[in-house]
């Protein structure tokens, strides 16, 4: 925002309130109300206005208070934002910030992982940082990108993860994954909150089973870093795809199909997937815990793969 005056923020309660999750705390005081625009509670208008502003030279960053609410403005994104460049060859540089994910007892309307809905629609870029370092690098990359970028920020990570963030102006390139842990026996392909569970599980496998697990943090879901995925699978021959979104129709299915298409001859076991079970998100903390993937479930899946 300091380097480009065409960048502005819009969303519900992002001004004096500082955002539902305080992501924009202090922005109003620093950048003023012209650039930190509190909107009415109207997601369709927010996303439509962002699109309209983007095509005439602005770089809007829209906050959707909870990712679940993006459904209200779904048509604006999938029909309008995602197809402007395809139809007319003009850029539509906009970012939609989507606080997503479960594990905070938000119940069925405040816990969704929306990536698969948009993954299916050509025209978007989708990123999902798992660390504070990547969060900064990816938001900068997203703001500077000339396409609509959906930026998934996992709500549980807001408070559960700490990490170093350099003051320097750096970006994390969209479309590039990251090897968070190297290993030789099994690849875990994951992103967002599950990265941390995968790393914990990899440690358990190393210590208890002597199995060396590689953890790939995709960071970008669209475009996918398919080369990184394939090179890891060629090395290990066994794959676990882990995401918090529920399994059926989740992007893990697409990744599995890509791997079987390109790396079939390198596979030593069926591709396994882990995710939430196929139900709406329950409120009851007991049920939610059962519903979500966790480190223990990742460990069990990895042990099963190791034994295959």
């Amino acid at each position: 925002m300091e380097r480009d005056s065409s960048v502005f923020l819009l969303g519900e309660d992002i001004g004096p309130f500082g955002g539902a999750f305080k992501a924009t705390k202090g922005f109003l005081q620093h950048f003023g109300e012209d650039r930190v625009v509190d909107t009415v509670l109207a997601e369709t208008a927010i996303l439509g206005a962002a699109t309209g502003a983007a095509v005439v030279g602005m770089r809007p960053v829209a906050e959707i208070q909870f990712a679940d609410f993006v459904t209200t403005g779904f048509s604006q994104l999938v029909n309008n934002s995602a197809s402007v460049h395809y139809r007319w060859h003009i850029p539509c540089p906009m970012v939609v910030r989507l606080p997503s994910g479960a594990g905070i007892h938000g119940g069925p309307f405040h816990s969704r992982n929306p990536e698969a809905w948009f993954f299916h629609q050509p025209g978007f870029k989708i990123v999902a940082p798992s660390t504070p370092y990547d969060a900064k690098g990816l938001i900068k990359a997203a703001v500077r990108d000339n396409n609509p970028v959906l930026y998934l920020e996992h709500k549980r990570l807001y408070r559960h993860i700490k990490g170093e963030v350099p003051d320097t102006d750096y970006i994390v390139e969209i479309g590039k994954g990251d090897v968070k842990r190297t290993g030789n026996d099994i690849s875990v392909i994951t992103y967002g909150s599950m990265v941390h569970m995968a790393l914990e599980a990899a440690e358990v496998l190393q210590n208890e089973n002597g199995v060396s697990v590689e953890v790939i943090d995709l960071r970008s879901l669209m475009p996918l870093d398919s080369e990184l995925i394939f090179s890891s699978v060629r090395k290990t021959g066994k794959v676990l795809i882990a995401h918090e979104d529920n399994i059926t129709g989740g992007i893990g299915g697409e990744i599995a199909a890509m791997i079987s298409d390109i790396c079939f001859q390198f596979l030593d076991a069926p591709i396994k997937r882990i995710g939430a079970i196929d139900t709406p998100t329950p409120y009851s903390p007991t049920l939610e815990e059962y519903f979500l993937p966790n480190t223990k479930k990742v460990v069990a899946a990895l042990q099963e793969l190791a034994a295959f």
Partner: protein
């Protein structure tokens, strides 16, 4: 013709600072739209145009009267029935016809078709195919120009059925609250596809939908290009000078079906004939002749020239190449 000689009163547009040249241009634009679309209908029948084709015939005065008072740096958003406004904005006739033909020389390079005309150099921002989907974009455009310190105005055409969409209300609220230089022109042609407005809207007056947001509003005879021009001049002034939006209900009528595949069983022939007596092109043409601005022979010559222009557009579209398969993948991302 008799009045021509004895005329003592001023023409009704004498307050509008309209030159004869501009008046003739407005007439010509309406006639061009009419002839372009009559020809498009024929080409559709021949299978040259695919998909959907929604004609503007009957509504020409609304588009021309709304667009004529704009500046070159103003922006226009519209819905799927967009040929008329595109031509009124001076978009290339050849490129428009070629877009209908799905050719690479089309205004959207064959990627959009009838509902997705576009020309940034003219500030013509489409052509949006989902009813009620585009008004917030126009608000965003107005937000942007205000933010950028330009005094451009954005106008947004929509059909009356789109005012039943929730986002219409979200957008009006936002536009008034943020004081955006945007004008919403609701082309009320009486039917949302085949559903009469009386079966689709609770309430008496459509323009009163803007009352809840205390937005400047009113209805205008959309069959009369001069009345459209007059009301738009006021609304444009309000937007440009005061950063305030307007909601204008243009009462109009389409002479053809909703699309090319509309048997029209929801309205009577008598009703259509009644409206055709108010044909916006015929009535304005007669008026220009009566005022001595055009002669009937000028109109006939103009019509011939337009028909030739449209014929050339069809030949251009026909001769243009299909988009190469490679472009399918070219522009998903900027």
């Amino acid at each position: 013709m008799k009045e021509e000689k004895k005329k003592t009163t001023q023409p009704r547009w004498s307050d509008l600072n309209l030159s004869n040249e501009k008046l003739i241009k407005m007439y010509r634009d309406m006639l061009l739209i009419r002839r372009f679309e009559e020809r498009a209908a024929q080409e559709y029948g021949k299978g040259k145009i695919g998909g959907f084709c929604h004609l503007y015939i009957g509504q020409e005065a609304t588009g021309v009267g709304a667009i004529a008072p704009l500046r070159e740096d103003d922006f226009i958003y519209t819905a799927y029935r967009d040929h008329g406004q595109a031509l009124a904005r001076g978009m290339d006739t050849n490129g428009c016809m070629a877009e209908l033909f799905g050719k690479v020389t089309g205004v959207s390079k064959g990627m959009g078709g009838s509902m997705h005309f576009y020309d940034l150099s003219k500030g013509f921002m489409g052509g949006w195919g989902i009813v009620g989907g585009h008004p917030p974009l126009a608000a965003g455009s107005a937000f942007a120009t205000k933010y950028q310190g330009r005094d451009s105005v954005t106008i947004c055409f929509m059909g009356e059925a789109s005012t039943n969409q929730g986002v219409f209300h979200e957008t009006l609220n936002m536009a008034q609250l943020w004081k955006l230089p945007v004008i919403f022109i609701c082309e009320n042609n009486g039917y949302g596809m085949g559903t009469a407005i009386s079966r689709a809207m609770a309430g008496e007056e459509l323009f009163d939908k803007a009352a809840g947001y205390e937005m400047a509003r009113g209805a205008v005879n959309g069959m009369d290009v001069i009345e459209m021009y007059r009301e738009m001049t006021i609304a444009i002034e309000r937007a440009r000078k005061e950063n305030l939006p307007t909601f204008l209900e243009a009462r109009t009528y389409r002479f053809r079906g909703h699309s090319m595949s509309d048997p029209g069983q929801y309205r009577t022939k008598e009703e259509i004939e009644e409206y055709k007596k108010r044909d916006p092109i015929e009535t304005f043409g007669k008026e220009l002749v009566a005022e001595g601005i055009l002669k009937q022979s000028d109109i006939e010559l103009m019509d011939e020239a337009i028909k030739k222009e449209v014929q050339e557009a069809v030949e251009f579209a026909d001769a243009s190449p299909q988009p190469p398969i490679e472009v399918l993948y070219d522009n998903i991302y900027a």
